[in-house]
Amino acid sequence: MPKVTIDGHSIEVPDGTTILEAARKIGGKIVPPAMCYYSTLKTSGGYCRTCIVKVSKGSERDPRPMPKPVASCRTTVMDGMEVENITSPDLMEARAGVVEFLLINHPLDCPICDQAGECHLQDLSYEHGLSKSRYEFERRTFEKIDIGEKIKLHMTRCILCYRCVKVADQLCDGRVHGVINRGDVSEISTYIKNVVDNDFSGNMIDVCPVGALTDRTFRFKSRVWNVNPVDAHRDCKKCAGKVMLWQKGPEVFRVTGRKDTYGEVIDWICNECRFDKKQTSDWVIEGPSNIERTSVISQNHYTLPEPAHKPLLNDVKIVPDHYQIDNKK
């Protein structure tokens, strides 16, 4: 099994593992952020460039460093590879650059965005972004589109991570969802604005890292930190039926899939569970969901998080804190 060293932490992983997955096995702060990579969607990743890392030693056999930063989500590890992530100030600056690019055309309408509080772009810009934008031009905008009766596409907020395209390709039948146009005016669209009519199309909402795809049954109903997530399940013929219910009192505001530490859905759920079962009587409640303590959603509640992969070295402070590197600028 190849052995890879990431920011000084070594781990042995099976052949074909990507640098990002290896980092996730180590856990903690050295895990590169990922906006487009989704472990359960094939061929995802490589587009957003936030997960770039510096390979300072290619492998035991060919120790030359790689000339450019590589996308850790799409680069497989080699035996003896040495990777620098948060230990490399150059790389942190490059990543800050990518975050800036992602933000220059983002509307920053968080105060009215349903995704606020569970938005990966918010987390990313909080950690790596500048406090002030250097972009002084008009931001691009698009018309809002309804794709299907339950999903709203607000393209202006999109960062073109292609995750929803992969969901449409891999979970739904027929190719009706894709990207049109080119460059900075490319947009996610459906074939002549057709509805995405499929039982699993709702998973697009869960994979969207920003507020570009939102649940029309939940839009503007509540801020996410004012509803309490609980784990629940039901006997569903189409999907695993394991979901999170977002409740305020007895009322169910929305239903989503359960997510792991990295915000990835563990089991895809069907549209019937997501959109039509909005009564507590439809569900068997298991108890409060595990929510990352640092997330806004955990403001009012509860349990300690238990990450999907247990961090081994979370508390060992061998590497400098990347917040410190950030503050030097």
Binding site: C48, R49, R182, D184, S186
Partner: protein
């Protein structure tokens, strides 16, 4: 006269047609390859010739060919990249227009060497009329038995198709070209795997430029060693240069590698000097994406050596004082040219052509164009120049394909060598409304 190999017959009337081409020694390389050589021997000859990819990167062709995976029972493909879209480059068009059979001959011989039974010429959408010329030539070649089943009784079956793209610069990137050829959106793939392992329809594929494939013909005819004799050092053979800009004789020239840049610009055989006898200001030596160099650095290297037309000499000094041979799009600018305006035009192009797949290029190219436009219109700020420098640094090397680099290098080099001009645009917007007026002031020493 310099040595001509590819264009030695281009002045002959009717060379476009099969009969005239054949009379002048056409298809001899196919005869020689199929009858007397094995694929391995041809690959070896190409390696010996030192031929380097003529599309821009200059990667040794023989080496690339030897990387081709050869699993049992899996088809292999050769794809000719005729998606020539680099601003300032038009050599492939000239070659295909004038001597279409040379490309077809090269395709047959190269495909035989690589074991490809089907090959494609991917031509850019704007060259639809060239595609018709090629299609007609292919028809003639089929009729004469150079294509199809059992060519020359050797048992080699080969089919050649022309595929017309839809007009996107990005499809000149080899993996985007393959995606487009498969009928998908022309987005570059993430490498690895490289096309030599999994390319067209996930089969091993070699993608070569038009000029590279054409150069295989003389290599087979005269041998790799003879080809390696031409040129200088590791830049062997001849190169087609598309010369444009403020010169007396713009056009496509075949040069022997190693002639001096000064010769190329000023001799009557080639560009014939600067138009109107004006002074040389700057040269973009290899198509719009390579760094621009000011007159003093393009004629002489930083060490004071005369700069030669070769891969090594043009790259001498790295990006600080050098550039690249690239695809051979030689754009000459005289003293009346505004570097800022020219750079804005390049940036506008890259903004328009970015595929939008990865964030630094999608967002950064547009941002750079907007800032340059602002400077050009006289509303720039002094901090804009530093901001441009910062943005290009954050695009370069962070993207999936080289389009990000291609967009960043012209910006970086223009600021590196002509920073003062940007600052003048910011500080004296009134003097630059009319660019020619600005230069008159500059000569009189009042604008500095």
């Amino acid at each position: 006269m310099g040595k001509k190999i590819l264009l030695k017959n281009d002045h002959i009337p009717g060379i476009q047609s099969y009969d005239v081409y054949r009379q002048h020694g056409g298809y001899a390389s196919v005869e020689k390859a199929l009858k007397t050589m094995t694929p391995e021997v041809i690959v070896e000859e190409v390696k010996k010739s030192g031929l380097r990819g003529r599309g821009g990167a200059g990667f040794p062709t023989g080496l690339k060919w030897s990387f081709l995976a050869k699993p049992e029972g899996v088809a292999r493909y050769l794809v000719c990249n005729a998606d020539e879209s680099e601003p300032g480059t038009f050599k492939d068009r000239y070659l295909m227009e004038r001597i279409p059979h040379l490309l077809i001959e090269g395709m047959i011989a190269s495909s035989f060497a690589l074991g490809a039974k089907t090959s494609y010429i991917y031509i850019r959408g704007e060259y639809f009329y060239v595609a018709r010329i090629l299609e007609q030539a292919i028809e003639e070649a089929y009729a004469k038995g150079w294509l199809g089943k059992n060519i020359l009784g050797s048992g080699f079956d080969f089919d050649l198709h022309v595929h017309v793209g839809a007009g996107a610069y990005i499809c000149g990137e080899e993996t985007a070209l393959l995606e487009s050829l498969e009928g998908k959106r022309g987005n570059p793939r993430i490498k690895p795997p490289f096309p030599a392992i999994a390319g067209l329809y996930a089969c091993p594929t070699i993608v070569n430029n038009v000029e590279t494939i054409a150069a295989v013909v003389p290599i087979i005819n005269d041998g790799g060693d003879a080809y390696a004799q031409i040129g200088i050092g590791k830049s062997t053979g001849t190169k087609l240069i598309s010369a444009s800009g403020h010169i007396n004789k713009p056009g496509v020239y075949e040069i022997e590698m190693g002639i001096t840049v000064e010769d190329f610009i000023y001799s009557d055989e080639y560009c014939g000097g600067i138009k109107g006898g004006r002074k040389l200001k700057a040269v973009v030596a290899g198509g719009s994406s390579v760094p621009i160099l000011p007159a003093e650095l393009i004629l002489k290297t930083a060490a004071g050596e005369p700069r030669l037309m070769s891969y090594e000499s043009l790259a001498d000094g790295g990006f600080a004082t050098g550039t690249m041979l690239g695809s051979g799009g030689f754009i000459v600018m005289d003293e009346s040219t505004s570097i800022v305006k020219n750079l804005w035009n390049f940036s506008r192009f890259y903004h328009h052509e970015s595929c939008g797949q990865c964030s630094p290029c999608r967002e950064g190219t547009g941002w750079m164009e907007k800032i340059l436009h602002r400077i050009l219109e006289g509303h720039g700020k002094m901090s804009d120049v530093d901001l441009l420098w910062d943005i290009q640094g954050k695009i370069e090397g962070k993207t999936i394909c080289p389009l990000g680099d291609a967009a960043a290098w012209p910006v970086a080099s223009a600021i590196r060598h002509f920073r003062k001009e940007f600052e003048d645009y910011v500080q004296k917007p009134s003097s630059i409304k009319d660019v020619k007026h600005y230069y008159r002031l500059h000569e009189a020493g009042t604008a500095s």
